[in-house]
């Protein structure tokens, strides 16, 4: 009941907004000015071959940060739109679902460099003589690193709307448009917001690749943090890397506080569990916004517009109308579609076989599979090591509620931090001590994704029922028995959830982590990731395609045979 009640006409009490409005004003104005400036710079004239000056002077970093963040948010907006359209289509049309969902599964496992190399020339040609084309290419690259998991989460959300709510929506005559806004989108919202955060971290991870475009014989560095880092790597300037890390930390903290915290606090009301929650996430900015009047008015305008659209797009007939009569279901069109899909799949398989046969040869395929096995063993070993380290720590933290709250925030922050910024440091160390890159490059793969294990274990440990804790203490469980019978089973489901995310992320990261450059030193580990990265840098399309294809097979196989089973086991047996 947070609704504010007004006992007097507003004009009498306060004419122009309240003090919260006035305090917010500078913030809003500053944001608008920055956005306008950034947008102007994005669309300035540009000729192909022109070099955009990137300076390593840290004074430029705020500006670069602005440009990079703007790209990311544009891409995030596009991803959000894409996710909603995708989910709505896939849920509504069965034929679309049959094509779209597997397609997304494949797109998801295609590394972002693959997209960039194919699309960059097209985007540049779209806006000749303007930087905007290149910007679009970079934004598209970021989009490809953000959109898929969001689209999946939206689809999952739309699919799992409880049957009774769907029935209620139908009984109360909601049209498709109304159902989307009133039921489906709100229901999918918490998952979507969570995935937006993950996507944002994912975007940072590829910030260098997307801004310093060096594929398909292009060499363009867009102003931004990514290009700054690329320059620093070329110039072997460790200090500049340090500056970039600092700028990024500030950037992440800023958008965390100004965007994601308020968003999470706001999205909390879409939680489906109907019982009251333990602690609702809070945000100072959201609380502030709630107290303002003018900004609230602006928000209300949008709500009113939406509601008006709900009134316009309503059902014009009910179940007694002839229009509600279901089409006489004939199997023919459905069969027809199935046949077309099947034919397309056959054709694709045939082309693939033909392509492999003529372009790369089967020995190459075998070699790539072996490389895939290398990368897989890295992923498995790393997840295992990360589990050994983080499970005990996570349990210890999770059992101390006061500590857990604070550490949870830090862990989420660390997950958002792009681990590849640490890569140059690793290269310097490996080169100095002459270490074996096959082994010592591996930890980089899990650097960024291990946090998912940590904060899932923390979350799992903090939800162990108190009775169970007392019982364990009462029975005097100690030592290995305590771990085997009580602690490990208790956190297993959440560990699996975390490990799935971590493993998926590690596969993707292998492309960056197994092939690292520092100035003109290039370190590479044998593996599928380095194969793809290497082929991308020479622009060998058939082999890029082969590498990507094999990685898809590995990732999907791994998900299917390992994680899904573990997940089902966790669901069946080990929950409270």
């Amino acid at each position: 009941m947070s609704k504010t009640r007004q006992f007097f006409p507003r004009q009498v009490v306060e004419a122009g907004g309240n003090r919260w409005d006035w305090a917010l004003l500078p913030l809003v104005l500053a944001l608008l000015v920055l956005l306008a400036y950034g947008a102007e710079q994005m669309a300035r004239p540009f000729q192909l071959g022109e070099t955009l000056p990137i300076s390593l002077d840290p004074i430029n970093l705020p500006y670069y940060l602005l440009r990079t963040t703007m790209r990311m948010f544009i891409a995030l907006g596009a991803s959000l739109l894409f996710s909603c359209v995708f989910a709505a289509l896939a849920v509504k049309y069965r034929t679309a679902e049959k094509i779209l969902v597997p397609l997304l599964d494949i797109l998801q496992s295609i590394p972002i460099l693959g997209f960039l190399s194919i699309t960059v020339t097209g985007f540049i040609a779209l806006f000749p003589g303007n930087l905007f084309g290149v910007e679009l290419a970079a934004i598209f690259a970021i989009f490809t690193s953000q959109a898929w998991n969001m689209a999946f989460s939206a689809y999952q959300g739309f699919r799992t709307v409880p049957a009774e709510l769907t029935e209620a929506a139908r009984v109360f005559q909601l049209s498709g448009w109304q159902r989307f806004w009133r039921l489906e989108l709100p229901f999918a919202m918490p998952g979507l917001v969570w995935n937006m955060m993950m996507s944002m971290s994912g975007g940072w991870f590829f910030v260098v690749a997307s801004e310093a475009i060096s594929v398909s014989n292009q060499n363009i560095k867009l102003p931004g943090i990514g290009s700054y880092i690329a320059m620093a790597i070329e110039a072997r300037d460790l200090q500049a890397i340090g500056w970039a890390i600092g700028a990024m930390l500030i950037g992440i903290a800023l958008y965390d506080q100004l965007f994601f915290r308020p968003l999470i606090a706001w999205a909390d009301k879409f939680r489906f569990e109907e019982s009251g929650s333990e602690t609702a996430p809070g945000s100072w900015l959201l609380a502030w916004l709630h107290r303002t009047e003018r900004t609230q008015d602006i928000a209300r305008i949008f709500v009113r517009l939406l509601e008006r659209s709900l009134a316009v797009f309503r059902l014009s007939y009910d179940g007694t109308s002839i229009r509600a009569r279901p089409d006489q279901k004939s199997a023919a069109p459905q069969r027809f579609w199935d046949a077309i899909i099947a034919a397309a799949v056959f054709y694709a398989v045939w082309t693939l076989v033909h392509f492999v046969h003529t372009e790369v040869g089967w020995t190459e395929v075998g070699r790539v599979f072996v490389l895939g096995l290398y990368t897989m063993s890295r992923v498995v070993v790393l997840i295992f090591i990360a589990a050994l380290i983080w499970i005990p720590i996570g349990i210890w933290i999770g059992m101390n509620p006061r500590l857990a709250e604070r550490v949870q925030a830090v862990a989420q922050f660390l997950a958002a931090f792009p681990a590849n910024l640490m890569f140059p440091v690793a290269v310097v160390v490996i080169v100095r001590y002459g270490l074996n890159p096959d082994i010592w490059l591996s930890p980089l793969m899990i650097l960024g994704t291990q946090w998912y294990i940590l904060f899932n274990v923390i979350a799992g440990a903090s939800t162990v029922p108190t009775e169970l804790r007392y019982a364990a203490r009462n029975f005097g469980l100690t030592g290995w028995l305590k771990w085997r019978r009580y602690l490990l089973p208790a956190i297993f489901p959440s560990f699996v959830t975390g490990a799935i995310t971590a493993s998926g992320g590690s596969w993707n990261a292998s492309i960056v982590a197994e092939y690292v450059t520092w100035g003109n030193t290039t370190l590479k580990a044998h593996g599928l990731g380095s194969y793809i990265a290497e082929m991308t840098s020479i622009g060998d399309f058939p082999r890029i395609a082969l590498g990507i294809g094999v990685m898809c097979v590995f990732v999907m196989g791994f998900n299917h045979f390992v994680w899904r089973r573990l997940y089902r086991m966790a669901e069946n047996r080990l929950h409270f």
Binding site: F172, Q173, L174, S175, R182, K269, R314
Partner: protein, 431 residues
């Protein structure tokens, strides 16, 4: 009184189970809902009463037969028919006010008008002051009030109630039921007919002008009982008590194959539904029955009160007792058999032996599993085999429940063993 609103003629409905075989849920169902009446549908779970309700709501289509609302064929949800859901089905992100306005908003009504009507409905159902609350802030009873206000605000001709009180505790459910009856009797709601689907026999008898008892396999209206008592009815009155008794009788004695005294002519078939009752509950009821004050004979409504089980649970337990030969059911009474008495006094080992023998004799599914195990050279079989078999006659969730009952009974009677992790059923090791 005699103007029909919803007419259902020889409706059939079957669902496809996972393996593609069709399972008939409704067969040749005829039913007419008239103006001015409240009708209650009773029946075991899986008997198709919820399916029938959803067909009337236009949520699912019948395979064949006619469904008409006011003489018009019904192809989807109609504006004049509204529904209250078992799990409330409120939109948790909308306030009480917005939830109630939902159907009006869908019609495109102007905000001021719909706010006015919603407030009136909220007032009517006794929720004033909670307009701005989110559903999660409310108790179950309050939530269902929101669900009812949401349905009533549309001024529906027909109100369908799908187990509307079964997610609430008894006291809350009764209060809500009485409030609705008051609105109905005082004509404060424009609704012309109410259809109630329920597990609760008392609810049905207290509310309805007609009680329909559904039989399963396949679902059809088996009995119809008109109730001519005037409302408000008194729960403790002699008439109501005896009506409740009668309905219990209807539901136990004629309950098809399940629940009848195990006699030669009505043996349970292999693919039939088993009463969903666990061992602890079976033994608990049997001990209670053998003891003071019942001394071997109990009136089912009394037993329900004593045990605080729902009607549905109690009927399942009594059916299980009858099936296993521990008790007989007659006219709403349950009477212990000599075997049942011996069982109630026996120690653990003897109990298991009796139970095993009875299960093997009277539960074909358990006997069949045992037979399969004995024939199989390895002595173990996967549960999925039996699940597939049950899927021919029962829906998926029901098949799983029935198999788990059979497995629990079989395990308890030392007929076979079962490994939860692998899903394998095997012969006991000491044999």
């Amino acid at each position: 009184m005699s103007t029909p609103i919803i007419e259902i003629k020889s409706v059939n409905k079957s669902f496809r189970s996972a393996d593609g075989s069709a399972r008939t849920v409704l067969e040749g169902v005829d039913f007419t809902l008239f103006e001015g009446e409240i009708v209650a549908l009773l029946g075991q779970s899986g008997s198709g009463k919820s399916t029938l309700l959803r067909i009337m709501a236009g949520l699912i289509g019948a395979d064949s037969g006619q469904v008409a609302y006011r003489g018009l064929p019904l192809y989807g949800p109609a504006r004049g028919i509204s529904m209250v859901f078992q799990s409330f089905a409120l939109f948790p992100w909308l306030t009480v006010q917005k939830n109630v306005e939902l159907g009006l908003e869908a019609q495109g009504m102007a905000p001021e008008e719909r706010a006015r009507r919603a407030e009136a409905a909220i007032e009517l159902i006794g929720l004033s002051g909670f307009e701005g609350a989110l559903p999660r802030e409310l108790s179950g009873g309050m939530r269902q009030r929101v669900g009812i206000a949401r349905a009533l605000v549309l001024e529906p001709e027909v109100l369908l109630m799908d187990e509307a009180f079964s997610a609430l505790d008894v006291l809350t459910g009764e209060r809500l039921r009485d409030d609705i009856l008051e609105l109905w009797e005082t004509r404060q709601m424009p609704t012309k007919a109410i259809l109630v689907v329920s597990h609760n026999i008392e609810d049905a008898v207290m509310m309805a002008d007609r009680v329909l008892v559904f039989g399963s396999d396949p679902g059809r209206v088996r009995e119809e009982l008109p109730i001519r008592l005037s409302r408000p009815r008194e729960v403790e009155s002699q008439e109501v008590r005896s009506l409740i008794d009668t309905v219990y009788g209807l539901m136990t004695t004629g309950a098809g194959r399940v629940g009848r005294t195990p006699g030669k002519e009505t043996r349970l078939q292999l693919g039939d539904r088993l009463p969903i009752a666990d061992i602890a509950r079976i033994e608990g009821i049997l001990e209670l029955l053998a003891d003071e004050p019942f001394r071997g004979r109990a009136d089912l409504p009394k037993l329900a009160e004593e045990t605080e089980l729902t009607d549905h649970e109690l009927l399942d337990v009594s059916a299980a007792l009858a099936l296993l030969g521990f008790a007989n059911l007659a006219q709403g009474d349950i009477v212990i058999t000599p075997l049942g008495e011996r069982y109630a006094r026996a120690g653990n080992q003897e109990r298991k032996a009796i139970f095993g023998a009875q299960v093997l004799e009277h539960v074909p599914l358990v006997a069949y599993i045992r037979h399969g195990l004995a024939q199989d050279p390895s002595g173990d079989l996967h549960e999925d085999l039996f699940l597939k078999l049950l899927n021919f006659t029962l829906d998926e969730a029901e098949a799983e429940r029935v198999l788990s009952v059979a497995i629990e009974w079989g395990r308890y009677g030392d007929v076979f063993e079962y490994n939860f992790n692998t899903g394998v059923i095997q012969l006991p090791e000491d044999e």
